[in-house]
Symmetry: C2
Subunit: 351 residues, 2 copies
């Protein structure tokens, strides 16, 4: 198969700008490798609310369901954040999309680039050589449990619920990834307080025997929040539930000093969604300064997912070439920098 | 009033060793300032389980209820952590004590010591001058909501519930603290996903008018986990719910590079509990290497709470004197160091 249907959801803030560079890259890839990518665009987030009233219009969902993979920009708009009464929010679009496509595993690789190590808020000897893969459960837990606010606003609740069968697939995935790497898996939970965490721990224990070559370690989330900064090199593969994963993976993203480089993949049984982790970054919108590399490396994860290994490797090589030659945006070099589209074109040309 | 009843709960791991130094300090204080402290000891945690089967024996609770303040060591034992089926756990003792005493506000001051700044995993320019006060809600939320595990272990849930009246007292407290400081309050929540977070945001908004001189800011917990490392100086006072507070305050504790120095206070309407944040640290138990300063500075917070301001100031001055003169344990100076009890005696003698 050399023909792929790609749903493209640029979304809010700098989403459209960085996704445009990913498309440029895919055009270069299709020329170099003779694949065909067919792009269908869809609205999502604040953009979709303002045009249709719905953060995930039915049409967008259809486009995604019919696609082989989804390229995603960003979501979120500050005008909604300070209004706790808003009934419709941009984030609902992304949450619903994750659920509808069954994207149960959010995967974030974290590496340090030696040429950028000075940008980190952490000291060089702490972070040098860090290489972590985080697996966050993405379609259950407190995000998707029942929610309730009493009509007079006197109280509210959110239910964190997990079924064993929701835990198993992502834990298997994480164990298998650990087998391909340094053979260590850390489950992050709060098993000294939460029943759901104890269920995670038990489920991991039960299947650990199938992965005897992997060392399984448990860590409380509060301790993990410290250890990630004190000694990030101790981690290989991390697996955790939805809410803890949200916090821990964002915390971990500061280690390398270059959030604008970090990609993510959200994988399900039948589809995958690929998204830079930096979010909508509204302050930078329209200025041509957004770093397109996170979106471009997310595109490389999409190529992995589509099993286009040669193309994925070529793309990563091109990105490293650009970074080594300091062909980067202003977040990485405030003295000499290039625009979003210049960096995208440089990488595309190298391919 | 110059006579105080102090409940002393040394607990597990290094708890007894560091609490012993706090008692030494209080003896020095009572000599210097002519106060009388009457100590009553109680069992709690793993220690209490092994002796009574109960992590919080009724007798301990009584001692605490009759006291003016509680000095607490640490809780937790690794033998319980890898056993998700254990019905009785050390942590239950602390959680029940917090609830029974109504200790709704956990307060953690975070400062960097200039003589120790090199110990931080973060770069000096990032952290220099950091001065944060964290207020964590301590007796509600997912910690105390209903919990359930289906009997075959097929699923489990934990309910995060908040009433407006549980949120108000700690938010007022945090606003008032901000008024005494740099007049900025940050609410950390996940209002783009959780109903309880939206209730927190609304409640803060509602009373903000009473504190017009304080700037109120909202931050999502995932972003906060990044911002604490990227730019900790942006924070003055932080207020947040129980679970987020557990994670965020432990994460923040790494900033100064000396977790062994950090105290905490847990305050209620009628009692206060004072505890070092480092936990039971079982690997160090009985070796005489535990840093007593966090426990001693928690004792200073107890003196604040008892409105013994002169004594509290003298105690803090003595601690700073010890640190400046490098009279510290091995975690702070691996070349020349003193034992737990030597450091405690040095500080006591100075008083
Ligand atoms: C936008 C928000 C709902 C989302 C989340 O919390 O999952 C984001 O923070 C993320 O991590 O993708
Ligand atoms: C021991 C544990 C239950 C406790 C908590 O999570 O509250 C501890 O981590 C703390 O922060 O005091």
């Amino acid at each position: 198969n050399d023909h792929f249907k790609i749903a493209v959801l640029p979304g809010d803030g700098i989403g459209p700008e960085v996704v445009a560079e990913s498309i440029k890259i895919l055009d270069a890839i299709s020329e170099a490798f003779h694949y065909k990518f067919q792009f269908k665009y869809g609205l999502i987030g604040a953009e979709a609310i303002s045009k249709t009233g719905n953060p995930l219009p039915e049409e967008t969902l259809e486009i995604c369901k019919e696609s082989d993979a989804v390229l995603f920009g960003a979501i979120g708009d500050p005008s909604f954040d300070n209004n706790p009464d808003a009934k419709v929010r941009p984030e609902q679009g992304l949450l619903k999309l994750r659920k509808e496509l069954g994207l149960f595993a959010n995967i974030r690789p974290l590496k340090t680039y030696s040429s950028l190590i000075g940008k980190s808020p952490l000291k060089q000897d702490i972070i040098e050589g860090t290489d972590i893969q985080i697996f966050r459960e993405l379609v259950s837990g407190i995000y998707f449990g029942e929610k309730f606010t009493e009509e007079n606003g006197e109280y509210a609740y959110d239910i964190c619920k997990y079924a064993k069968e929701e835990i198993l697939p992502i834990v298997h995935m994480a164990f298998q990834e650990a087998q391909k790497r340094r053979k260590k898996l850390t489950l992050i939970d709060k098993a000294n307080v939460l029943d759901t965490s104890r269920l995670w721990r038990k489920t991991c224990q039960e299947i650990a025997a199938e992965y005897e070559d992997v060392e399984l370690e448990y860590m409380f989330v509060d301790n993990a929040a410290m250890q990630l900064i004190l000694n990030p090199k101790q981690f290989d593969v991390i697996v955790t539930e939805n809410m803890f994963g949200d916090i821990i993976s964002d915390e971990a993203s500061v280690i390398g000093g270059s959030i604008g480089l970090l990609p993510s993949a959200s994988i399900g049984e039948e589809n995958g969604l690929f998204e830079p982790i930096h979010g909508s970054y509204p302050q930078a919108k329209g200025k041509g300064i957004a770093n397109p590399v996170a979106s471009i490396l997310s595109t490389a994860m999409m190529l992995d997912y589509l099993q286009l290994d040669l193309a994925a490797n070529k793309l990563r090589e091109s990105v490293e070439h650009a970074i080594e030659h300091k062909y980067v945006t202003s977040d990485l070099n405030s003295k000499q920098w290039y625009s979003t589209s210049e960096v995208g074109s440089f990488i595309a040309d190298y391919i």
